[in-house]
Symmetry: C2
Subunit: 379 residues, 2 copies
């Protein structure tokens, strides 16, 4: 059995206000091309199909088209589960009809115990669930954490294990020891939402969703596929793609296939003059989502508008030396009353521009402050 | 070809804040029972499956269960369209899989021109649409109204007519000359949303949705099924049900089958004392949705709470003689300045209680007003 493992599509997600649907369709087309090239027997999607429990109409249109193409047109069997971002009930619509064409979309805990058998493999499709669901399903008041729930879940799954088949778990949670990036929603704090890797050892492969980096977990038999796209700056250096998994009689192997983003998430650094010079911006892909680190200290009037004219997808501007200045500012506030007028102006000028007054400027200020002072007295 | 015609389910609709899901499931079960008893070949649902474009999770759960039962379990072919209350895109999910089991759910105008053929009949499933959709679809800037759009739509449908078959149109709009009740949303004003009956004469039967009363339109070849439940007080006296339609070679016949509401919408009238007496309330079905007409004129402290203790589903309380009093009030306001103090109190008392002051009460007021007046002077 050879399958493609992907997850965390988050259809409808926006990146700092930018709609990603075009990128999502492009990544989907690449996934489909890989599935065809690799001649997989099925496509596994491990949760978070949508980004929100109530997706927009545009997101639904895109998703509907994707599943039609994948399952009805290209005839791939699909094994999918709902993630924490999906509304299980909303996603459930159509499910009982989907199975007629081998599109298995599990959204309820009770569905996880009826494995889907394909080739030499039993797939257990376990949707994202809260401990309360397991408490009710197992009628066990003791279950308070996902770890406790998973002990019962896996025990029950193993009752269905056929010894001559490979066993694959498709699930969507945080495996203890994994590394998070910025774009995953925190579910709970205090480790209540984590599952120890040791609990998963009975499976030949665990196709995970939830974390967006493929390297979030290094294990012999478990992998996050990661999201098909970079959803935050912290994922800037991640390689995005899918796993091609082979469950052979002797062992299970997996190989990563990279996706090429339609528009990448990148960071550029430099002074405002440099970044807005044609020599510079002609040398990079301006269509990317860009986080800009500015080295300037001076005030730049109309900065964002100027940058956006050149770079249409700015996802953030950072002043590299801004923080230092802000610290200084806090310090000065205490001293303000003890400073001479010209010193105050000097400090204000350097906070705003990052530069000091020239001698000429200082002299001009002294003269004019003096004149104002006299005029006030003369009243 | 024998089919059941229903429409305007409005799953998730509330009646004055009361959830109707239980009533909706009950009505659905009756519809299914009729379909079985009458041995129909298909069930037609002419739009407004949901009450809102974004239905609640509870409404989706109920609807999902209904369509599974109707189509997958009871194996009825289903011919359905989206109405103006449905989000066509949201409802579309699963559609391409539904057809595998003869569940045809059209949500887009372009789908209407591929008739579904069953037995001796061609069904044209025309979802609710706005003139703009027809303008784009026909690439015709002249189309501004539904009537203009329908001329083109029907012309195009007739190209598909097979002469030896019966032709049924399933649609969701306001046919000119129909009578509205209170629970239909007004779409537009000025008649832009109406279709003349004459346009529909090519069809053997037009299964309409949109208006909630089965008698809204009296025509030889067209019927509203009406909603399965009463959705407003104005529908109090309507009979709710479904049509059983036979498209025979010679002629098309239809017969109405009534539904019995789990809880009815009723109006009761009487004095507060009577309505809260056990003799009275034991004689009626207190579980119904009740609009109460009170004949009292007096103030009744804590009235709603007292009524709701006896009648759990009060959808409105009307003071039958309230309006008269309010008119009087407006008249008095002009005279207030010219009235003696005791007259003012008398008027206020009668406005609030509906009764006049007794002689003893008048005397008491005069004495005390006098005392207050003297105390004021003595200050």
């Amino acid at each position: 059995m050879r399958f493609l493992h992907t997850a965390d599509w988050h259809i409808g997600k926006k990146l700092h206000g930018y709609d990603l649907l075009e990128e999502q369709v492009d990544a989907f087309q690449q996934i489909l091309a890989i599935a065809k090239n690799e001649e997989v027997d099925a496509i596994v999607v491990a949760g978070d199909l949508y980004d929100r429990s109530v997706p927009s109409v545009e997101a639904i249109e895109v998703f509907n088209q994707m599943i039609v193409e994948m399952n009805l047109q290209e005839k791939f069997p699909v094994l999918a589960i709902s993630g924490n971002h999906d509304s299980s009930t909303r996603l459930e619509t159509g499910g009982p009809w989907f199975v007629q064409s081998d599109f298995h979309l599990n959204t309820r805990l009770d569905q996880a115990f009826q494995p889907v058998e394909m080739g030499n493999t039993q797939f257990f499709l376990l949707p994202y669930f809260e401990p309360i669901s397991a408490r009710l399903f197992f009628d066990n008041e003791e279950i308070r954490t996902i770890e406790q729930a998973m002990q019962e879940v896996i025990k029950k799954m193993k009752e269905q294990f056929k010894p001559d088949m490979a066993h694959v778990l498709v699930s969507h949670f945080f495996v203890a020891g994994s590394e998070k990036s910025d774009s995953e929603t925190k579910l709970m704090v205090g480790g209540l939402d984590t599952v120890p890797l040791s609990l998963l050892e009975s499976f030949d492969y665990v196709a995970l969703g939830h974390l967006h980096g493929k390297n979030a977990l290094q294990a012999e038999n478990a992998r996050y596929s990661g999201s098909p796209l970079k959803f935050s700056l912290s994922e800037m250096n991640q390689k995005k793609g899918v796993w091609i998994v082979d469950t052979q009689p002797s062992e299970t192997t997996f190989e990563f296939k990279e996706l090429t983003p339609l528009r990448d998430v990148k960071q550029i650094e430099g002074g405002f003059k440099e970044l807005t010079s044609q020599t510079f911006y002609d040398s990079i892909n301006r269509e990317n989502y860009l986080h800009i680190q500015l080295t300037d200290r001076a005030v730049i009037p109309n900065m964002m508008n100027q940058l956006r004219k050149i770079y249409p997808r700015v996802i953030g501007v950072e002043r590299l030396f801004g923080r230092e200045e802000r610290q200084k500012q806090t310090e000065t506030k205490k001293e303000v009353k003890t400073l001479a007028p010209v010193e105050l102006v000097d400090q204000f000028f350097s906070e705003v521009t990052g530069e000091s007054l020239t001698q000429q400027q200082q002299r001009w200020i002294e003269e004019n402050l003096g004149a104002i002072h006299q005029a006030e007295r003369g009243k």
